[in-house]
Structure formats: C-alpha cells, structure tokens
C-alpha cells in the first residue's frame, strides 16, 4: 500500500495499529465504491453465496443445536430455584437469540468462513494471481474482492439466522430429553418473551458480525505477504482478530440497543 510511513526502523506499536486501521478503512471504502454496480456482479455474488452456504451449513446446524441446548440447561438451573421451570422456553430462547446464539455461532463461522477466505485470497496473492489480474487491466478489488465481500455478508447472514433457529430446536430437544419439559410447554412461553424488538436486535447483531467478518478476512487475505508461510500466519491472525472484534461488536450493539430502548420507553 502507499501508506508506508510506519515502516521505518523502530515503529511505535500504536502508530502501527492506527496505520493498519486506516489502511483497512481505505480498503473498505474502495470496496464500497463498487456498490453501484451490484447487478453487474450478480452471478459472481450468487456463486459465492452458494459456495459458502453449502460449505458450512452442516457445521452451523450442529453448533446451533448444541448452543441452544447448553443455554436451556444453564437457564434451567436458575429457574429451578424459583420453581418456575415452565418459563424456561421463553427465557432460554430469548437469551439465546439476543446474546449467546449470534456470538457463539459467529465464533464458529469466523473459524470456517473467515479462515477459508483468508487462505484462498492469500494463496492467490502469494502466487501472483492478483497481480496477473491487474496486468490484464482489471481491478482486482472489483473482480475478486467485491463479490466475495458481498457474498460473505449475505451468506453469513443467512447462516447465522439458520443457526439461531436451530438453537431454538436444540433447546427444545434438551428440555424434552433432560428436564422432562414437553415441547408444547417449551414453545408456549416463547411468544411471551420474544418480542419484535429482540428479533430486530438479533438480526442487527448478525448483520454487524457478518460485516466485520467479511471486512477482516478479505483485508488480511488481500494483504498477505511472504509465501505459503505468510498464508498460514495470516489465517491464524484472521481467526484471532475476528473473534475479538466480534466480541467487541457484541458489546457495542448491546449498548446501542439499550440506549435506543431507553429513548423510546
């Protein structure tokens, strides 16, 4: 990149971080500049969505199922003390949908989609395929990064929603098998606790997580250097960075939603 001012002999760590952040923001703006011609890339984007969704549907279903059952068990411990086990369905579902479901499933997805994208783009970069595209007179960001970016956002969005729905099913199964709470009883309490606002918050969280995931994985993959070793290193970097950014984003969205709620009440 052109912003090389931090690359002197003894760069301070904060300056380096700021420079990387700025570079990432410029990269994002470059991608978003192509938003106007979505229709042109329709086929590429659908191909990406198809590939990513098919790639990780099974894993997401499995993890969503178990996340739901974990939450049901944890909530049952506390509700048992109040002898209010009948409320379990509503509380566990609402808790999973609003907080832990999107978070844990996004963790899974960052291992799957994020690392996969980084290693794919990184391999393209270190084998000079991206330079080859530039040599042919095409813009690599437009041809390669943009369809992937939009594709990851859409696919992760669908996958996370799918995972959250599976988690309801998982909680129901765990309650039926381990706590002898019939599915009818479990499902009956859900409408009482789950309002439109919670679902909107969950969708918003899911969108923010998939946006962060797409941004980080494409940025790090596109800026890979140093051969196959660099690809491996960057895959690790993507996994670690996207997890911490997702947790941070979780906090920010919860805080924003809390203040919006206070505003309207």
């Amino acid at each position: 990149m052109s912003t090389r001012f931090y690359n002197d002999d003894n760069p301070s760590k904060i300056l380096l971080m700021l420079a990387n952040l700025g570079s990432a923001v410029i990269f994002l703006l470059k991608i978003l500049a192509h938003l106007g011609n979505l229709k042109l890339h329709q086929e590429d984007i659908f191909h990406q969505i198809w590939k990513i969704t098919l790639h990780s549907l099974g894993i997401i279903a499995l993890s969503g199922f178990f996340v739901g059952s974990i939450m049901a068990i944890q909530f049952s411990l506390q509700l048992k003390e109040f002898a209010a086990l009948s409320l379990l369905g509503g509380l566990a579902t609402s808790g999973t949908i609003r907080e832990l479901g999107p978070l844990l499933i996004a963790f899974m997805l960052s291992g799957r989609v994020g690392a996969y994208t980084t290693s794919e783009l990184g391999t393209m970069k270190v084998t000079d395929q991206i330079d080859a595209i530039r040599c042919l007179g095409a813009d690599p960001i437009k041809e390669i990064i943009f369809p992937r970016f939009i594709g990851i956002i859409c696919a992760s969005f669908f996958l996370l929603i799918f995972g959250v729905f599976t988690s309801i099913f998982g909680g129901m199964t765990a309650a039926a098998l381990l706590l002898q709470l019939s599915p009818q009883e479990y499902l009956r309490e859900i409408p009482r606790f789950l309002n439109l606002y919670s679902i909107l918050l969950s969708l918003f969280k899911v969108f923010v997580f998939s946006f962060c995931l797409a941004w980080i994985s494409t940025y790090i993959g596109y800026h890979t250097e140093g051969g196959a070793l660099g690809v491996g290193k960057n895959v690790v970097k993507t996994a670690a960075l996207s997890l911490s950014v997702i947790v941070f984003a979780d906090w920010v969205t919860s805080l924003v939603s809390e203040s919006i709620q206070l505003l309207f009440s």
């Binding site: 690392a115 690809v231 895959v235 690790v236 996994a239 809390e258």
Partner: protein, 247 residues
C-alpha cells in the same frame, strides 16, 4: 470407510497420552508452550471476556425486568452464567483461534519440510517432543486461564452493574452470594481443563494429517480450528448436562 478417521484419531490420541508419561520430561518445552497459551493470550482473553461479561449484565437485566420487573438479582444470574458457562467456553474458543491454529500450522509445516522425519532419525519420538508438552501445557494453562479470567470478569460485572443498573457494590455482592458459590469457580476450571486437553489433540491431529504442498497447510489449519471449536461446544453441552445432574 466412514469410521476410519475416528479410529486414526483415537489411536493418535492413545499414543500421545502414553507419551506424556514417558520419561525424558522436557520441562523447558512445557514452559515455552505454557507461555504462549497463558501469558501471551492473557490480554486478549481478558478483554474479550470483560466485554462478554458486560453484555451478559445488560441482557440479564433485560430478561429480569421482563420476568420479575426488578433487576436486583441480575448479578447473581450473570455471575453463575459467567462462572459455569461463558468463562470456560469463550476462553477455550479464543485459545483455539490463537494457539490451536498456530499448533496445526507448526506441525503441518514441520511435516511437509520433513523436520519430523529428521526428529525420528535422531531418535526422538515426535509425539513426545511436539504433542505431549502442548497437551500438558494447554490443559493446565486453559484451566488456570479460565479461572483467572472468570474472576476478572466478575469484577467487571460489578463495575458494569454499578454503571448500567445503579447497583452499589454491596448489593452486587449480596445478590452474588445468593446464587454463586466457590464450587462454581471449580466448574469453570474443570471445564477449562477438559477443553484444554482436547484442543492440542485435535489441532495436532490435523497437523499430522497434512499431505501435499504448502497450500494444504492453510486448509488443515481451517479444518483444525473448526473441528476443535465444534468438539468444544459439544463437550460443553455434555459437561453442563453432567454437572447439572450431579450438583
């Protein structure tokens, strides 16, 4: 043969566990691995879990207001949730992404550059030299880390409930005492121990499965991270069910 990978994995795990107890104990390697897992991951894990703790406080208060109409008991619920659930699983998933991915990449790179064959040539057992210190370091390290970080998250919980819910520290401690007890901390440590034991086994297994060139390293790293995350989530479910039945 659908079950072949499982048999391969279990025979690998058996060999590795046997090699932990085989004499030349390499303590310097153990401490080096321990440093990567605990000391170098401490800042990021603490940061992430503190944010997760704050979110737990906010979300529990939302649900408590809905059920009881009062959020004085929120700290108790949130503390139990953090100690028994979030502390261990978030720590383990972060360690998978940070240290587990590095383990797979290290072993796969050593395998394709024939360093493992070189180890065998000079009479060192590769599992004992590479995998056994990782297993010991990670099971002790993740257990310690999840207990330590859970305590930090509880302090953050106190601060957050003071800021967002206007609960004074005294009220926080009172609600906290009603639900959580000291054993919950050991649940977190126990879960951390089990998770820490599985992470290097699975990650190193995928490292040793690497065939072909350098492109395969990235693929195996992805597969190792995904597989160990999903095994951790499933194990967490089994442990939660078991612990809730026993206590």
């Amino acid at each position: 043969m659908m079950w072949q990978p499982f048999f391969t994995f279990f025979s690998f795990a058996k060999d590795c566990i046997a090699d932990i107890f085989r004499p030349p104990f390499r303590t310097n390697l153990l401490f080096k691995e321990m440093e990567l897992i605990t000391y170098q991951s401490l800042p990021i894990v603490t940061l992430c879990l503190s944010f997760a703790a704050t979110v737990t406080i906010l979300e529990s208060s939302f649900h408590m207001k809905m059920v009881i109409g009062d959020d004085a008991l929120v700290p108790g619920f949130a503390a139990v949730l953090i100690l028994r659930e979030i502390g261990a699983i978030v720590t383990a998933l972060l360690i998978v992404a940070r240290a587990g991915a590095a383990m797979t990449a290290e072993i796969a790179l050593k395998l394709i550059t024939e360093q493992i064959d070189a180890l065998k040539m000079i009479g060192i057992r590769p599992y004992q030299f590479l995998v056994a210190p990782k297993i010991v370091a990670s099971s002790l390290g993740v257990a310690m880390l999840s207990m330590l970080v859970s305590i930090v998250a509880l302090v953050v919980c106190g601060v957050a409930s003071h800021i967002y819910l206007d609960l004074s520290p005294g009220l926080f401690l009172a609600a906290f005492h009603r639900f959580a007890n000291f054993n919950d901390l050991f649940v977190s440590g126990f879960k951390g121990f089990i998770f820490g034991f599985t992470i290097p086994l699975i990650c190193c297994f995928f490292g040793f499965q690497c065939r072909g060139g350098a492109e395969h390293v990235g693929k195996m790293t992805t597969r190792g991270v995904v597989m160990s995350s999903i095994v951790i989530i499933i194990l967490d479910f089994l442990l939660s069910a078991l612990i809730s039945h026993l206590f």
